[in-house]
Amino acid sequence: MAETVAVIDYGMGNLHSVASALGKVCDQRVTVTSDPAEVAAAERVIFPGVGAIGDCMGEIRRLGFDKLLREQVASGKPVLGICVGMQALLTHSQESGGTDCIDLFPGEVRFFGHELTGSNGEPLKVPHMGWNQVEQTEHPLWAGIDQLSRFYFVHSFYVEDTGAEVMGRCDYGVRFAAALGRDNLFAVQFHPEKSHTAGLQLLHNFVRWNGQR
């Protein structure tokens, strides 16, 4: 039987792009679902998210998906967080007046701020929106993607660049974590489903990944 990739749907945003990008890179069954049993039965899990973290965490908790996600990660199957889905994996976020998150990665999600400036002192717009370069740390999910390739970002809050679990770094007035990874869990701040060739390659790598470094 064909393997399945489950895209967790908790009502926050459009998941069709993720699903259609996956359809482009694999023959596996792709299901967009809010059914915990279906998520648990899948070989791979994608945890996306857009919008405000307070609303996202509210829905995640209401549906019991924090526990579900912990179980999926503990089971050893490959799990990929995207955008707010990455931020929700941290300990805490400054967004929405301060929000406790799932705490699968230690660390804080911070606001870029209104006084952000670039290397020449020029003011930087927030949200950080558009194509920026990612400095990759060796990991199977970067296979076939050139070092410093650009990915599409859109976010106003960022994950601090701390710790050994940072698998990709980006710079926008501050250096921040563009990717995190530990064992079978990987997460990216950018949108691979909107990042053209490099993004599709990352998804291609994920659906073939065995969850090992």
Binding site: N14, G51, K125, N132, K194, L200
Partner: protein, 257 residues
């Protein structure tokens, strides 16, 4: 490492067909927005903006279907503008695969709609489109106002104040079109672009008047735009997206190659 300035081709679509004709030499159907969006995607466009000028509400199903077909083929951000008047309109477009929606006259008629939309869907997908026209006379301090209905109807609203208000209300981005320059090929209104860009904390897309590649560069360096939108110079094959990017890069502007 730096964020790239974006180049955004814009398609005007009427009832599922591209108007203001696209003239690629080897394209099968120059009226098919899906075909054209794929071309721009392959050519390295950073985003695609799709402006729906379909007049009748009944034909919006065609638009939704077109967006679905584009989103299934094009893996770069897609903005859909035109006729977005309610959260239901936004939900339909996002569910069809749009990443952002452009809100124009509905924002002017009901500014709180922008707040409600941003609260519901997040600022990242709310683009407020502003059509501005210079109203100051010669020798007076520069002043621009918002116009609706393709530049015919004045609103008396100051463009710079409006842009600042819209970003306060939760617009994640401003798409700024100079009605004085649109279609002229004389370049962006740089003073307007800069005034708006300096007044808002969110990214600004400059639009209206591009006739050559230097105009794109000027919009970024002098207008301080974060992205530049153009239609005819790309549609009529005068320049390709890679040529535009190479030109900007020669001028020291960060682009995605």
């Amino acid at each position: 490492m730096a964020l790239a300035k974006r180049i955004i081709p814009c398609l005007d679509v009427d009832n599922g067909r591209v108007v203001k004709g696209v003239q690629f030499v080897d394209i099968r159907d120059a009226g098919d927005p899906v075909e054209i969006a794929k071309r721009y995607n392959e050519a390295g466009a950073d985003e695609i903006t799709f402006l729906d000028i379909t007049a009748s509400h009944q034909q919006r199903d065609t638009t939704v279907h077109t967006v679905e077909r584009i989103a299934a083929e094009v893996f770069i951000p897609l903005t859909v503008g035109g006729g977005i008047r309610s959260n239901d309109d936004i939900r339909r477009m996002l569910n069809a695969g749009a990443d952002k929606v452009g809100i124009n006259s509905a924002a002017v008629h009901n500014p709180d709609f922008v707040k409600a939309a941003s609260d519901r869907f997040g600022a990242q997908c709310i683009v407020v489109a502003i059509d501005a026209k210079q109203v100051s006379g010669e020798g007076e301090p520069l002043r621009w106002e918002i116009f609706t209905h393709g530049g015919r109807n004045p609103t008396g609203i100051d463009a710079v104040e409006w842009a600042a208000r819209m970003s306060d209300y939760g617009a994640g981005e401003i798409l700024l079109t100079s009605m004085d320059r649109d279609g002229t090929k004389n370049g962006f209104d740089l003073a307007l672009t800069r005034a708006i860009s300096d007044a808002v904390p969110v990214p600004v897309i400059a639009s209206g008047g591009v006739g050559n590649l230097q105009h794109l560069a000027d919009g970024i360096t002098q207008g301080r735009a974060d992205a530049v939108l153009a239609a005819s110079i790309f549609h009529f094959g005068e320049y390709t997206v890679p040529e535009a990017k190479a030109y900007l890069r020669e001028q020291g502007i960060e682009v995605r190659l």
